[in-house]
Every structure is written in C-alpha cells, then in structure tokens.
C-alpha cells in the first residue's frame, strides 16, 4: 500500500482552510476582598448560585452570595494565593465530583481528587454535589435490614436499608467505632460503603483507613476526607460530595451505606462560612438555613422504587454532643430529621459497657419493619427487660432482702447487659446473634456466673459452627427460628459440656492435688 500524498495534503488543506482559531470568551469579575476562605468579586453579573468559579491561579470557588454589587465566593482550596484585583472566571458549571466504580477503595478529598497517593482516578462520570432528593413516588418503604453486626443495635434499634439513623453521643464514646464496625460487617453483603470524614484529624482518618484495609473492607468503601486542616468550605461540601458518589450507585440499583462523621463539625464549618459571608447569625450563631443544610442532605438517603432499580442509600450521620446535652441546636435538628437515633452514654462507656448504647433513649422509627423475623422474636422483650433491670438495680443497691422473683429478674438483667457487650471490630452475623439472644431469652444463661457469659457466647458460636451449621444456615436463609426443638437441643448439649471458670479452677486444683498425692506416694 502506498501513501497517497496528494490526497492527504488536499484533505489537510481543506481542514486548514476551515480552521479557525477560536478565542476564549469569558465572563470575569475582579476580586475586591479576600480572606478567611472567602472572596468577594465585582462583576460576574450572570453568575448562578452555587456555580463553580475559577481564580487566576487555578483555585476553584463556589458562588454563594449573589448581591447587588458583588458576589460572595467560598474558596475551595488555598486562598492565600489570591490577591485583590485578580480576575475570577465563570465556568458555567455547577459543582461536580467524579463518581463511579473507580473510586472504590480510594481516599479522596471533597472535590474527588485522590489523596491516597495511588494515582489518578480514571472515571469519566461525574455528578453535581447538590441534587434534589428523590420525591414521594420515587421511593419505597424500608423493608430490608442492614445488619450492623452489633448485637445491641441489630436487636434493639434495627436499621433498614434506606433509613437515616443518627449516632449521637459525647466525645470518646465510640461513635466512630460503631460506624467502622458497621462498614466491616458489610463484607460480602453487596453493599457499597462511603465514609465521609469531616473535620477530623488526619491521623484519625489514617487509622480508620488502615482499620478498613486490615479487615478487607476498603475494597467496597470510598473514604471522603475533609480533615481539620482543610478550609471550612471543603468541610461544608464534603457530605454533599459523598452523597453524590453514593447516589451514582443507588440509582444503579445498588445498596449504599454512607456515614457522615460528623455533622456537628460540618455545621461548625458552615457557621464559620456564613459569618464570614456576613449572613445574619441565629441561634448559637448558626445561620438561618442550618436546618436545611442537614435536612436536604439526609433526605437524599432513600430506598428507591422498583421502577428506579430499587437501590438504596442508608445514612448514618454522627453528631457529637457536649456533656450529654441533646437539647442543643444541632442535635435536636438532626434528631428530628432522622428516623431514629443511637444514643451513646459516656457513663456506661466508662463503666465498661461497650458499645455504650443507652437502650432507653435509642430508637429506630422504621427499622422494625425491616428486622429479621427470628431476631424480632428473640429481642421482643429485651428493651423492657433492660429498663426494668435498671430500675430494680438502683433499688436493690439498698441491700434489702429481695424475694426470689426480683432476684431472678435482677440476675436476668445482669446477664442481658453482659450479653450485649461486644468487642471492637468484632461484628457478628445475624444468625449468631439470634442464637445468643435465644439462649438468653430461654434462660440458658441464668445459671452461669456473669463473668463467664461472654466466654460462653463465643464458645457456643464456635460449637454451633462446628456441629450445627445447618441451624445457622436455616436462620440465615429463612429469617425464622428453626421449627421444633433442634435449637434447644443444640444449646443444652453445649451447655452440658461448658465448664464455668469456677469449675475449671476446681478441676485444676483437683489435678494438682492428685499430682501431689501421687508424688507423695
């Protein structure tokens, strides 16, 4: 084959004749003020609210306040390089983030840029960070459970797919641990997880990422991090960016779990931003639309109707309280927006009850419909038991003589509280939880010393897996308790072989005694 020079040159000639060097036409403004992460610019008469703007040095900003003479811009990045008199360009785009499968297993900033040093994220899809939540007809009621793997939550405050469940508590009460454990438990559940870290220490985020990696949970997780060193605007948009990434999966029919850790910091960042933009402060100096910032975010969590693919996005927002004060502005706002809350209590945390969930004040408004039948059965009276135990326990402290019924109630309560304890990063599958709670509810634990309960629980699980995997499978597949007395038989067989620590000590003492006796003889 020969190259047809003539033909090619004539083609090029034709193209050259039509080639027109286009000049860029842009609408620009001039920066008149810059500081504290906010800039004001003259001009930009046609800028839209929320539009992405570009400064001279390539830093992006978002148009926030459109006023008569100028535009208030939040700077999404380093504002120290911006000078008075610089030009700002309109981009005509609303703020977007890259979305898609390529983000899985990555750590990104709120603009979707990788910060884990693993190279570019190759995706051509993007979504606007602000999007209207699905409306009434696009939704379906919550009916499928989301297993957190944490006994006390799955039993008492069950969470359904598409629900918004608030995790609230003081600092250092294990809020993040619950979130991380929930992500870890989603392994092999066909669930996409998004962890949005807002205003946290870089080291904390790093260790969370490491934990996820260690438990193999990072493969199905996106971490969006706006750490404490980022300017307030990035903290403010981080949850919306995370929600946009989640929506991409949700609208493709997948189930998504998104964790906002935490929204009090986002509220603080937005307050900072609004005050610098000179919006009037309201209660606790938060701006007037602080409720809307959270409600429109959490409303994006949904269970989509079958027409839209039936995907879901479950949101677990986290709120930090000060000294257990849930009546502060932000906590009350978010409590009223969400479908229930998990309340963590610092007193019980330090008393050794971990996870330190307050069974009395924690509720789930919609998750009950989604709870597995078997779990519903075994956990039915749990809440009442705990409540009456707490009441009795404070009464019994006076040390007066108690009748047998009261003592039995106290013993049961003590064991209930003990059973609900669970180690860090040790989520349990639902069938194991059901069997444990079944054993508790049917009095198998009543005769055991409290100190042996947790050991009994783990050994029972090991025994069940080894000898009665069929029962586990049955609970898992049907969601119901096995018919007949198979489960009872299994548990009582195990219990007969179980040695309490006292018996063990006795046994080893006997052995020793035998040994000395033998030696003497």
């Amino acid at each position: 084959m020969s190259i047809k020079t003539e033909e090619i040159s004539s083609l090029i000639k034709k193209q050259l004749a039509n080639y027109q060097d286009s000049i860029s036409v842009e609408e620009t403004g001039t920066v008149t003020y810059v500081g504290d992460g906010v800039a004001r610019a003259d001009g930009l008469e046609n800028a839209m609210a929320g539009e992405l703007l570009e400064f001279d040095n390539g830093v992006y900003g978002m148009a926030q306040n459109l006023e008569a003479n100028n535009v208030g811009i939040v700077v999404l990045g380093d504002y120290t390089g911006i000078r008075e008199g610089d030009t700002v360009k309109r981009t005509g785009r609303i703020m977007e983030v890259p979305v898609g499968d390529a983000l899985l297993g990555r750590v990104v900033d709120p603009l979707g840029r990788p910060i884990d040093g693993l190279g570019d994220i190759k995706t051509d899809k993007s979504r606007p960070i602000e999007r209207k939540a699905p409306d009434v007809m696009e939704r379906k009621s919550v009916s499928e459970p989301l297993q957190t793997g944490i006994k006390v939550i799955d039993a008492l405050v069950p969470i359904g797919r598409g629900q918004r469940e608030l995790i609230i508590g003081d600092r250092k009460t294990g809020k993040t641990s619950i979130a991380i454990d929930t992500i870890i438990n989603q392994k092999d559940q066909d669930m996409i997880c998004i962890y949005v870290a807002i205003g946290q220490k870089e080291s904390t985020v790093r260790s969370a990422v490491e934990t996820l990696r260690r438990y193999g949970a990072l493969d199905y997780t996106i971490v969006v991090s706006a750490s404490a060193s980022n300017p307030a605007p990035l903290l403010y948009i981080a949850p919306y960016a995370g929600a946009a990434m989640g929506e991409e999966f949700m609208y493709n029919g997948k189930d998504v779990l998104i964790i906002y850790d935490d929204l009090s910091k986002q509220a603080d960042a937005y307050r900072e931003l609004s005050l610098i933009l000179r919006r009037p402060p309201g209660r606790e100096a938060y701006p007037g639309d602080i409720f809307y910032t959270h409600s429109r975010l959490l409303e994006r969590a949904a269970r989509l109707s079958d027409d839209l693919g039936g995907g879901s996005m479950t949101a677990l927002p986290i709120i930090q309280t000060q000294a257990g004060d849930v009546s502060a502005y932000i906590p009350t706002n978010v409590i009223s927006i969400t479908d229930g809350q998990i309340f963590l209590d610092s007193d019980s945390f330090y008393a050794g009850q971990r996870p330190a969930i307050d069974a009395g004040t924690s509720v789930s408004r919609v998750g009950g419909d989604a709870q597995v039948k078997a779990m519903k059965k075994v956990s039915g009276t749990l809440r009442l038991d705990i409540a009456s135990y707490n009441e009795l326990a404070s009464f019994a402290q006076f040390g007066s003589d108690l009748d047998a019924a009261t003592q039995a109630k106290l013993a049961r309560g003590e064991r209930t509280v003990e059973v609900l304890k669970q180690g860090l990063h040790q989520p349990q599958p639902v069938e194991q939880q059901v069997v444990t709670l079944y054993a508790l509810g049917h009095g198998y634990l009543d005769s055991l010393p409290v100190d042996d309960i947790l050991r009994f629980e783990s050994e029972l699980a090991a025994y069940m897996r080894a000898n009665h995997q069929d029962l586990y499978d049955q609970i898992k597949s049907t969601g119901k308790l096995p018919e007949g007395d198979d489960l009872d038989k299994a548990i009582s067989t195990f219990k007969d072989t179980f040695e309490t620590s006292d018996q063990k000590k006795q046994a080893s003492a006997d052995d020793e005694a035998d040994a000395t006796e033998e030696a003497e003889n």
Binding site: V25, E26, K89
Partner: protein
C-alpha cells in the same frame, strides 16, 4: 450597616443623570465630570484631603470652591452636595457610575485592550470596528496598553466580559491539558 461605595455612587449618579437628561445638559455635564475626574486622578491626595480630618473646614471649603469655580450650575451643585454630605471619598466612583450610564444611553463601550506590541492606527480602527460590530455599539473607546508578557495576540476586556486571544493564555491552557 453602612452602604458600600458602589451603592452610594449608583444613587448619586442615577439622580444626576436623570436631572442632566431632562435639562438637556448631558453632554456638557459629562465633559465637566471627566475633567473633574482628571483633576482628582492627577492630585492623588485631593480626595483624601477633602474627606479626611487633616484640613480644617474652612480650608476644605476653599478647595471645594476652587473646584466649583468654572463648572456649570449642575456640576457645582453636585460638588457642593457631595461635600456637604461627607461623600467626597466617593466622588470618583460617582463619576465612573455616571459614565457607565452615559455610555449605556449612547451605546458606547469602553474596552481595555492589552497587546504584545504597539498597535498602529490602521489596526486600531479595524479592532474598534470589529468590536463595535460584535458588541452592537455605536462607538468604542479603546484604552490600549502594551504588555510583552502575553507574547502575542490580544486581550480585550469589556465590562465583565473578557475576550482572550493571547498566546500566553493558549500556552497556559495547553500546559494544563498536558499536566492533567
């Protein structure tokens, strides 16, 4: 909340423009204001002296009278009023605003043109004709500056619109395209 410069300037300019328009003194007023602005621009300290506290009231009044001396009734009234209301700081802004309104009425545009080399007469007319056509204006007032930094081409700024055909911007764009 005190009003910002621009809002104040807009109000004064609007009133002045309306008044000059009904009295058919638009052209004259405009010329006088442009001259006044030149005075202010040439004497950088004047605006500050008139609005500051370094001079006594009588000294300031002398200065104001000097400014008013050769101007028409309308402009002299403006100067006096602006001075009385302690808005001398906004004088230049008021004149700028007035100019904007004047331009709008006469379909005239101001274009800041940055070029790499000095433009000759021929090119200037060409440019202003092309701009007039593009922007639908009767008259284009070119404000030319030379900046070798842009290497080649032109940057034209009209109001809040920027037409950028400079070589530097293109190279920057190329660099960004290659870097990302």
């Amino acid at each position: 909340m005190s009003l910002d410069k621009k809002t104040v300037a807009k109000r004064y300019a609007k009133a002045l423009f309306a008044l000059a328009n009904t009295d058919d003194q638009l052209e004259q007023t405009y010329q006088e204001l442009v001259a006044l602005r030149t005075v202010f621009k040439q004497n950088a300290g004047l605006q500050r002296a008139l609005s500051g506290t370094n001079l006594s009231q009588s000294q300031k009044e002398d200065l104001v009278n000097e400014l008013k001396k050769d101007s028409s009734q309308l402009v002299s009234n403006l100067i006096q009023m602006v001075f009385d209301y302690g808005r001398m700081d906004e004088m230049v802004a008021i004149i700028d605003e007035f100019e904007t309104q004047y331009d709008q009425a006469h379909k005239r545009v101001h274009a800041d043109v940055v070029s790499a080399v000095q433009l000759d007469e021929n090119r200037r007319t060409k440019l202003s004709n092309a701009l007039a056509q593009r922007l639908g204006a009767n008259d284009v007032d070119l404000n030319l500056t030379v900046d070798p930094e842009i290497i080649g081409g032109l940057i034209v700024k009209v109001g809040s619109q920027t037409l950028d055909g400079s070589l530097k911007t293109k190279l920057d764009q190329m660099r960004r395209l290659l870097m990302n």
